[in-house]
Each structure stands twice: as structure tokens, then as C-alpha cells.
């Protein structure tokens, strides 16, 4: 961490520059992340990105639980792409244990996966509207998103944390009458998304999004960005096609990867809108070709869990925000030795610096929203003591010690 007081001194000498704290609490940010932005009038001169305000110790917690309990724990990493996390985690376990899933289970897993992509993209489209001051668009996108959430509730019983995945299959089947319902909802969503695309071509919206937060092809490759952020800059990558998992092995020729090379916030938005259409197509294919069979293994999950040997593997999926990576190391006794999660936001967050520098203050929220950040990894607390005018950082070790002191009688 840089020394705060030195920075302050350096900036004090130049009265044309302001250092504006942007976050961790800011109406444009839904989760705590902090940017220290140095501005001259409206122009951004420098950006310092600070992560780490919501440390929850999930990786450490998972190591204290058994493999099945950890499924429900990793689901809580994110409220938007909860299914991506469990898919990634369970498919790692299945690979270590050599468990073969039935076709139907894989297809259902993919179905929820694509529904989740639709709802995640609609959410961020709404938030982009909100960030450019277009509240109506925000309300409309979230209104459409309700359709997907209702479908989740009908299929899995839950709107946000679906608890669909388990080792060796999925927990809920898709009965015939629900297939009809999904089809009806898809039609509604498709129509509304077309309308949303029209609204995004409105002149005031274009003025706020075009040529904002430009991330060139070279920068995108250097910074290893993933997902729609990369595809918006012309980087041709999609885990679903490159390293197919679940049902994408059969479906990979049935959808196209949305690729644009505009490299600005508008292009990233456009990529998301067209990905919604692609997702709708994938879901329709899945519904048409849904194979018969059982959706989980005959053995109970706990028995399966005990059979998983010691081993390690890396599993990747294409979450709505990009490539999500899990490193899983099991101990052979139904527990985890190590769990490492690399969320897509962590890969994308560094790209904010080249995007923001040279822009205006007004562009910060929409640029940040355009990479669809989802903040979930951290390691410290900053304490600001105004009376003694000092800033202390409390590290993870300190926090742990304090936590233990609190709870030891």
C-alpha cells in the first residue's frame, strides 16, 4: 500500500488538482471498491484502485468444511452468478472422482447457466442505464429480469441461490409443463431485449457510451481481460467454445461467439445485448433436444463424496462476466486441502486504469459498470482516525486475532 500522507503532500503543492475518493461507498457502485482519482477540473489524471473491503475468508472457510458443504458455501461467493460458481466447483470434483454425469443433468446444468447469463446481463444493462442517469431504462431492464427470476423460482425453488448443482448431477428436474413456461418467458424476454437494444441506440445514451473507457486490443491482451470486456475489444475468447464443458460439448457448433472491436463502453454493452439473444437460442436448443434419463446418481451424495480420492485439478467455466477459474485440491477424506477462486472481475479490474485515465469524472460510473464488476476478494480494513489525522491499515492476521479474542470466553 502506498503511504497516504506522502501522496497528500505531493498533491497539496498543485492546487489545480483534486484527489477525489470514489467509493468504497458511492451510489454508482453496488459493492465496496475504492478508486482514488486525481482530477484536474473534469479530467482524470491518475487512478489508484483499491480492492479489499469485503473480505469474507471463503477459501479458508471451505478448507474447514466437507466437499458437499462447500458447494453451498461457494454458491454464496456471488449472488448473480451463483450457479457458475457451483458448476465450476462440482465439475472439478467430478473430474477428480471420475464421475460421469447423465446427459440430462448436463443439459439442465447448462439451461440454468444460460438463464443466469440472461439475468446477469439484464442486470448490468439496467445498471449502465442508471449510471448514465437514465432511470427509466434501469427500471425497464430490471422489470424484464423479473421474468428470469420467476423461472428460477419455478424450476429450482429459489430466485438467487438456486442450489441446483450437486456432485454427480442436478437436484431438480424440468417437468414438461415448465418447458412451456420457459418458452413463453423466453419469447417475452426476446421481445423486450430487442426493445432495450433500440433504447440503447437513443442519441443521449450513445453520447454517454460511445468512445468512453476505450480498451484497445493490445491492452486487452496484455492485461488478460476476460469475458464480454475482452470480446468487446476484439479478443476472440470464450470458454464455452474453446474448452467446452457441461453440455457445450454438443452445443458448441450451435451458437456463435459475439465479437465486436469497438473497444468502448458502448461496444461492451452491445456484446452483452447480443449474448442475451445467443443465450435465448441456446436455451431453445436445449429445450428441444433435452435427453431423457435420470438427473442424479443412484448413490447418495455423501457416499459419492467419500469416494472422491486425493487429487487436484483446475476447472474453468464462462461465467456471465468472463472466465471463472477454480483450483481444487482434495484430501481424499471428503475434505478440501486447498480451494482457489479466480473470479472474472479480478482479471478485469486492472483494465479500469487505462480505461479511466484521460476521461472525465462523469465517465467513471459508466466505465466501471461497463466491465460489470462483482467485487469479492479482500484482505484489510482501513481505519481513519480524524482526531490524530492518521490512517491505519489492519491486515488479515490482525483481524483474525481480534476475531478470536472476541469469541474466546
Amino acid at each position: 500500500m502506498t503511504n497516504g500522507s506522502d501522496d497528500a503532500k505531493e498533491i497539496k503543492e498543485d492546487y489545480t488538482r483534486f484527489r477525489v475518493p470514489f467509493g468504497p461507498l458511492h451510489p454508482a457502485l453496488k459493492e465496496p471498491i475504492s478508486f482514488r482519482v486525481v482530477v484536474r477540473k473534469e479530467e482524470i489524471l491518475d487512478v489508484d484502485i483499491r480492492l479489499g473491503h469485503v473480505y469474507r475468508g471463503i477459501e479458508a472457510l471451505a478448507e474447514n468444511r466437507n466437499l458437499v458443504q462447500a458447494i453451498y458455501l461457494v454458491e454464496r461467493i456471488c449472488g448473480i452468478c451463483s450457479h457458475s460458481h457451483t458448476t465450476c466447483y462440482t465439475q472439478a470434483l467430478e473430474e477428480i472422482g471420475g464421475i460421469q454425469l447423465s446427459e440430462r443433468a448436463l443439459y439442465l446444468r447448462t439451461l440454468i447457466f444460460e438463464l443466469e447469463r440472461i439475468h446477469s446481463h439484464l442486470l448490468i444493462l439496467g445498471l449502465i442505464g442508471y449510471d448514465i442517469g437514465f432511470d427509466t431504462l434501469f427500471m425497464f431492464c430490471w422489470h424484464v429480469r423479473e421474468n428470469v427470476l420467476d423461472l428460477f423460482e419455478e424450476i429450482t425453488g429459489n430466485r438467487v441461490h438456486h442450489a441446483m448443482n450437486t456432485i454427480g448431477g442436478v437436484r431438480w428436474d424440468l417437468p414438461h409443463h415448465l418447458i412451456e413456461k420457459v418458452n413463453v418467458s423466453l419469447k417475452k424476454i426476446e421481445k423486450s431485449t430487442k426493445y432495450i437494444y433500440d433504447v440503447f441506440q437513443d442519441k443521449t445514451v450513445e453520447k454517454r457510451l460511445c468512445d468512453i473507457g476505450v480498451l484497445s486490443y493490445n491492452e486487452a491482451q496484455e492485461l488478460c481481460v476476460v469475458g464480454p470486456t475482452a470480446r468487446g475489444s476484439g479478443v476472440n475468447m470464450d470458454v464455452r467454445r474453446d474448452y467446452p464443458y457441461a453440455a457445450y460439448k454438443e452445443l458448441k457448433d450451435r451458437f456463435s461467439v459475439v465479437l465486436r472491436d469497438g473497444a468502448d463502453a458502448y461496444t461492451r454493452t452491445e456484446v452483452r445485448i447480443f449474448e442475451i439473444f445467443e443465450s435465448i437460442n441456446i436455451i431453445r436448443t436445449i429445450l428441444d433436444e433435452l435427453p431423457n434419463g435420470s438427473i442424479f446418481m443412484e448413490e447418495s451424495v455423501l457416499k459419492l463424496m467419500r469416494k472422491i480420492p486425493e487429487g487436484e485439478t483446475v476447472s474453468i467455466v464462462e461465467a456471465p462476466r468472463g472466465e471463472l477459474l477454480y483450483f481444487v485440491k482434495t484430501d481424499g477424506k471428503g475434505g478440501l486441502r486447498r480451494l482457489k477462486v479466480r473470479t472474472p472481475t479480478l482479471a478485469n479490474i486492472l483494465s479500469l486504469k487505462p480505461m479511466l485515465i484521460g476521461g472525465e469524472i462523469a465517465d467513471i460510473p459508466v466505465t466501471v459498470a461497463s466491465i460489470d464488476p462483482c467485487i469479492s476478494c479482500a484482505n484489510r480494513i482501513t481505519i481513519v482516525d480524524n482526531d490524530q489525522s492518521e490512517v491505519r491499515v489492519i491486515g488479515l492476521e490482525d483481524l483474525r486475532r481480534r476475531g478470536r479474542k472476541q469469541w474466546t470466553p
Binding site: V20, A28, Y130, D131, T136, T204, K207
Partner: protein, 316 residues
């Protein structure tokens, strides 16, 4: 003396209508977004609740200016709304009171800016600079459009003279001459910026600079600032409704309408103007950036106001 008493007697009326207009605006805005929206009297609840909250002044603030600014802002904007109302009721006015009203309304904006920048918060300072830029952009065309009234024979800068002329001509001012139509358009185009509504709410953009000047205000001060904004919005729509679109003038038996009928018609016109110039834009547009807004105001309304002067001189 009577006028001054009448002015203060109008304060509660202005207070009531400005909050009521705000409530209607919020309700219709919500309905256009497929929401149920708050009840129409929500601004009254908000006002009462905010007034009962704790008063807090940040340590970094210049506390004198910080606390006085909202009070002045609320007083001048209510006064700005009360003057046309009283003039309409009593049927008298003094020369130049239109300039006074516009001055009072600008004063209210300036006071909010000063209060915000005295809070010591960098967002307050950014809000100040943005509002300053916006005021330069919209105040000039707005002033010119009002001032152009006096270029015409038989009009003056006295508020009631303009109203009386419309009654005499049995027509709305905006439809009498080409120059007046242009002036009315200019005035209406400046309304969203003067009311700090999307797409021109740049100075207090919620997602960009966290309400700019208002960031450190809370409790009674915030209530007063919100009241100041509502009252100045009410004053603006009421001015537009009576200066350019004085609907009671269209009725044959003007006297038979009575004071109540006249006021009702004016308020309804004001409401429609508010819907068209504040509520609808803020529902269907995204927020512009400061440079884009400035460019718009200097390209369209300023050019229109110049055209208005030119037309007036030619005598159209």
C-alpha cells in the same frame, strides 16, 4: 404595505403548491416507468421527517455559511414564487419585477452552490463548478427571452402588464407574434436545466458526484434546500404559464371566471408545462455530460434568443 402583507400571506400557498407539484411529478414519473410510485403527498412527509432530524455540520465546513445558505435559498425562492402569485391576485405590479423574480430564482441556485462548496467536500466543489457552468449556459438565454418582452410596444417588464395585455388581446402571448413564440420556446428549453432535471441534472448527478452540493446536507438544512428547489421550479412553471400561456385570457367573460377560476386555470397550465418540460425529459433521456449540455445551450436556446431579439426589432 398591503402588498408586503399579501406577499407573506402567500408563503404557505407557495409552500403547499410547490411540494404538491413535486409530488405529482414524482408520481407520473413513476407511472411512466411502470412503478407504483410514492403517494402524491410524499414530499410533505419527507419535509416533516427531515425537519425533525438531527442537525449536523461537518467539521470541515465553514459552519456560518453552511447553515445560513439553505435558509436564504428557501426564502428567496419562495419569495420569487410569491411575487407573481400576489401580482396576479391583486392585479398590480411594479416595473421591473420580472427581473427581480429571475434574480431571486438565480440567487437561490447560487446559495445552494455556495452552501455546498463551503462544506469542504471535494464533491461539493465539483458540484459548484458544474452548476456555475450550467448557469452560464442557461441563464443568459432565459434572461434574454424575458427581456425581449419589453422590446415590443405595449409590453413591459412589469409582470401584470404582460398578463393584462394578453387579456386585452384575448390571446396567448406565445401565439400573438413570431418573436414571442420564439421567446416562449427558449424559456421552455431552459426549464429542465433551471430545474436541475435529467438530462441537465449534471450539477447534482447522483451516480457521478453524489448529489454535488447537497452531499453534506442532512436534516432541516436538506429539507430547506429541497423546498428551495421545489419552490423555484414552481415559480418557473408558474411564470411560463402566466407570461406566455395565460389561458384565462381566452375566455369571453374573463371577469365571470372570478379569482378562483383564474388561479385554477393558471395552475393547471403550469402543471401541464411542468409535465412537458420537467417530467417527460427526465423520464426519456439519459444525463448529458457538462460539455455536451453547454454546447446544446449555446447552440440552440442562445441562438433562438438572438433570433427573438432580431424578430422583435424587425417588429414581427
Amino acid at each position: 404595505m398591503d402588498t408586503i402583507v399579501a406577499l407573506f400571506a402567500t408563503f404557505p400557498i407557495v409552500f403547499f403548491f410547490s411540494l404538491l407539484f413535486q409530488g405529482i411529478d414524482r408520481k407520473i414519473h413513476a407511472r411512466m416507468q411502470k412503478r407504483i410510485g410514492p403517494p402524491i403527498i410524499q414530499p410533505f412527509y419527507d419535509f416533516i421527517k427531515l425537519f425533525n432530524k438531527e442537525r449536523m455540520v461537518p467539521v470541515t465546513a465553514a459552519s456560518g455559511i453552511f447553515t445560513v445558505a439553505p435558509i436564504i435559498a428557501a426564502t428567496v425562492s419562495i419569495l420569487g414564487a410569491a411575487i407573481p402569485l400576489v401580482n396576479l391576485i391583486t392585479g398590480t405590479s411594479i416595473v421591473g419585477d420580472l427581473i427581480l423574480v429571475l434574480y431571486l430564482l438565480a440567487m437561490s441556485s447560487v446559495m445552494v452552490m455556495i452552501g455546498g462548496s463551503s462544506s469542504g467536500n471535494p464533491y461539493g466543489a465539483i458540484g459548484f463548478s458544474r452548476k456555475m457552468t450550467m448557469m452560464i449556459a442557461y441563464e443568459i438565454p432565459m434572461l434574454i427571452s424575458i427581456a425581449s418582452l419589453s422590446f415590443n410596444p405595449c409590453f413591459s417588464l412589469a409582470y401584470y402588464d404582460v398578463v393584462a395585455t394578453q387579456i386585452r388581446m384575448k390571446s396567448l402571448l406565445a401565439f400573438t407574434r413570431l418573436s414571442m413564440a420564439v421567446a416562449a420556446t427558449t424559456f421552455l428549453l431552459c426549464m429542465p436545466a433551471a430545474a436541475d432535471a435529467v438530462p441537465f441534472d449534471i450539477s447534482e448527478a447522483k451516480t457521478e458526484i453524489i448529489h454535488g452540493s447537497l452531499i453534506e446536507y442532512c436534516g432541516p438544512y436538506l429539507a430547506l434546500i429541497k423546498l428551495a428547489k421545489d419552490a423555484s421550479n414552481f415559480a418557473l412553471v408558474f411564470l411560463a404559464a402566466t407570461l406566455f400561456f395565460y389561458v384565462p385570457a381566452l375566455f369571453e367573460g374573463y371577469v365571470s371566471l372570478g379569482l378562483g377560476g383564474t388561479l385554477c386555470l393558471c395552475l393547471i397550465t403550469a402543471l401541464i408545462i411542468m409535465l412537458l418540460t420537467i417530467t417527460v425529459p427526465r423520464t426519456i433521456f439519459a444525463r448529458l455530460k457538462i460539455g455536451q449540455a453547454f454546447k446544446f445551450y449555446w447552440l440552440v436556446p442562445l441562438a433562438l434568443s438572438m433570433l427573438c431579439i432580431a424578430l422583435s426589432i424587425v417588429g414581427l
